[in-house]
Symmetry: C2
Subunit: 350 residues, 2 copies
C-alpha cells in the first residue's frame, strides 16, 4: 500500500444549539477531503483504527468563548476533535515504529493524520487486556472516575455512594472503584434499564435503580434510608434534582457530567436547590485534565491494570461497546451516545 | 403594671406552598391568645420589644421532614419561630434582672413568653451601638456574612468578590468584611435599585449593579472582565445563573440563601450549569448554626464591634430598617422581606 497524500475528515459546519443535526439543509458536520502535510521530524503519519466517543465532545462544539473552555473549542471549518487509537503508517520519530498502535487525544475525526510524537502514547501490550480498553476503562474515562471518586468526592469505606450513568464508561468504573478498591459500605448505581442494572450489580453495586421505571423516585428513597454521603453525577438534570434530597448533611456531589443537559436549551431545573443550604452540601465540578497535569496518570493506569489482572476489577468486553462503522457514519455513531443505548465505553471501529 | 397571665401569639395554621397568605379563607398564620405558664427556676418572663425578620423563616414553615431541617420546623398549631429582643418582666434566674434586654433565638411571634435563661444573651451595652444591631450586623446575620465570606468562600486580598443581596442584612456586612477587613481587590455588590446601590458603594463596594436595570446582564459582564473568584449568593435564581459564567476557574460560590426560590414552586432554573464542570466551580452551602456550635461567636461579635468603633465598619441606622408595628401586623411586616423593600436588617418594633 502506498502512503496516502490526502485524507477525509469531518469538520464542524455549524454550532448546534440543541442536539447536533446530521441531515437536512443545515447539518452540524460536513465531510471533506484535504491534503496531508509531509511528515516532519518527530512526527508520524497514522491511520485511524478506533475513535473514542465522549459526551464531553458535545461541549466542544457549542458557540462558546475559548477562555471559558478547558480545551480550545472546535471552530467552524475545523475537524471535529476526538481521541482515538491509530496505527503508525510512516514514522520520523524514534520509539514510534511503523505498525505500532498509539492512543492520541488530538486525533480528530480523520482517517489519516500527521501527529507530533509528543502527543502520542504507545498502547501497552498487556496480556488479557484489549487495546480498546485504553480508550475507556484504562483511558481517560476510567481515570476520570478514579480521580473523581477518590480525590473530588473523597469516598471512604464508611460512605454510602450513589452513581448515576452507572452503566456508562465512567460510571461503571466508579461503581467498581468505590465498592471493590475503596470498599464503600453501600454503592447504589442508577442506570437506564433492567439489563444495564443487572450488569452494574454484577460489577459489585449493592443496588442498581432503573431511572426509567415509574417507581424510580420511590426506589431511590428506599435505597437511601440513611441518605448518601457521595453522589457521583454523570447526568445532571432530573436525577440530580431527585438525588439532592437524598444527600446526608455535608454530603459531596462530584459533578463529572451533565449528559441530560448537553443538548438542552432549557437549562437545569433544580426544585430541591434549598437542600444545598439546609444540608450544607458541596457541589464540586472537576475535569480530568487537571489531574493529568499532575503527571500521575501512568501510575494510575498501572494501578487499575494490576487490579484488573488480580480480578479486583472487571475490565472485559462488557466494559465497552465497539461499533464497526464506515468513516461516513462516524458522527451518527457518536450521536447514539445521547440516546443512552451503550453499555460501557462506546468505541467506533473503522 | 401587673404581671400578665396570658399572651397573644401567631401560630402556623397551614403550610404555605408558595408565598404565605395572610387573608382569605386559608391564611398561613392565625392569631390566638394562650395562658402563660408560671415562671420556674432559671426562667424569666419577657415582653417582646423587637422581632428579627429573616428570609430563612420561610424555610421553617414548609411541609418538610424534621430530619432534613437544620432546626426543627414549625408544626401546625405551634407559634411561629422568630428571634428577637425582649425585656425581662419577671425573673427567677441569676444574672437576668428585671428591666434588662435579652436577645432570644427562641422568642417566637409572641407578645410575652416564659424562657429558659440558658437560651438568652444579655444585650451588651456598648456606647454608640443600638440594641437592634444585635439582631443584625452584630447578630446572626452579621455572623453569617462573616463566616460565609471568611471560612466558606475563603476570600483573599487578591480576589474579585461578587455579593448578591448586597443591601440586605447579610450582604451589607459581607461587602464591608470583604473590602474593609479582608481587603479584597474588587468587591461588586448586586442590589435592587439605584439608591440601594449608592448605599452599598458608600459601604466600600467598588461597584454595585442594579439587577432591576435592563442592562444588568451587560453590566455584570462589564464589571467582571477578569471574572470572579468568589460569589456570595444570598438570592439564588436568575442572578445565580447569570453569575456562573462570570466565575473564574476554580471559583467558589458560597450559598447562603435563595430568597428568590423560597416562595417559588417552580424550582431553580440554571441554564449555565455546565460552567460548574468546565470551570471546576465549588458550590458550598452553609448554615450559621455550624459555626455557632464552634463557640466562636462571642469573639467574632467583639471583633466586629471593635472594627465598628474604629470606623472600619459602618454599623449605623442604614444597616437596619426598623418598622414600628402592632402585634396584629407582625406577619405582614415579615412578608415585606420578600418584596425587596428593606435596606439592611428588617426589624419589627412592637
Amino acid at each position: 500500500m502506498s502512503v496516502p497524500t490526502s485524507t477525509r475528515q469531518w469538520v464542524l459546519s455549524r454550532h448546534p444549539t440543541g442536539l447536533p443535526v446530521l441531515d437536512g439543509p443545515e447539518p452540524t458536520f460536513s465531510l471533506q477531503t484535504v491534503d496531508l502535510p509531509p511528515v516532519g521530524d518527530n512526527q508520524v503519519l497514522v491511520r485511524t483504527r478506533y475513535f473514542s466517543n465522549d459526551p464531553a465532545q458535545r461541549g466542544w462544539i457549542g458557540n462558546v468563548k475559548p477562555e471559558r473552555m478547558y480545551i480550545a473549542p472546535v471552530k467552524l471549518g475545523e475537524f471535529m476533535k476526538s481521541g482515538g487509537i491509530a496505527e503508525i503508517v510512516e514514522s520520523k520519530a524514534a520509539g514510534f515504529e511503523k505498525g505500532k498502535l498509539v492512543t492520541a487525544f488530538a486525533l480528530g475525526w480523520r482517517e489519516y493524520a500527521v501527529l507530533d510524537a509528543k502527543d502520542l502514547s504507545l498502547v501497552p501490550e498487556v496480556e488479557g487486556i484489549k487495546e480498546t480498553q485504553y480508550l475507556g476503562a484504562l483511558g481517560f474515562t476510567g481515570l476520570t472516575g478514579y480521580y473523581g471518586i477518590k480525590e473530588i468526592a473523597e469516598a471512604k469505606p464508611e460512605h454510602v455512594v450513589v452513581v448515576s450513568g452507572a452503566a456508562g464508561a465512567t460510571g461503571s468504573m466508579v461503581v467498581q472503584i468505590a465498592k471493590k478498591l475503596i470498599g464503600c459500605k453501600k454503592v447504589i448505581g442508577i442506570a437506564g434499564g433492567d439489563s444495564k442494572c443487572a450488569w452494574v450489580k454484577s460489577l459489585g453495586a449493592d443496588e442498581c435503580l432503573n431511572y426509567k421505571s415509574p417507581t424510580f423516585r420511590k426506589d431511590l428513597k428506599a435505597a437511601t434510608p440513611d441518605y448518601a454521603d457521595v453522589y457521583f453525577d454523570n447526568v445532571g438534570g432530573e436525577i440530580l434534582d431527585m438525588t439532592l434530597p437524598r444527600m446526608k448533611q455535608g454530603g459531596v456531589v462530584a459533578v463529572c457530567g451533565a449528559i441530560s443537559a448537553y443538548n438542552s436549551t432549557e437549562g437545569q431545573l433544580l426544585r430541591n436547590w434549598f437542600e444545598v443550604i439546609s444540608m450544607r452540601l458541596q457541589i464540586k465540578g472537576f475535569i480530568l485534565l487537571d489531574f493529568l497535569a499532575q503527571g500521575k496518570a501512568k501510575d494510575t493506569v498501572m494501578e487499575l491494570a494490576t487490579a484488573a489482572k488480580q480480578g479486583k476489577l472487571t475490565i472485559g468486553d462488557e466494559n465497552e461497546t465497539v461499533v464497526e462503522a464506515k468513516f461516513e457514519d462516524v458522527p451518527k455513531t457518536w450521536l447514539t451516545l445521547f440516546e443512552g443505548g451503550n453499555t460501557g465505553k462506546l468505541v467506533t471501529k473503522l
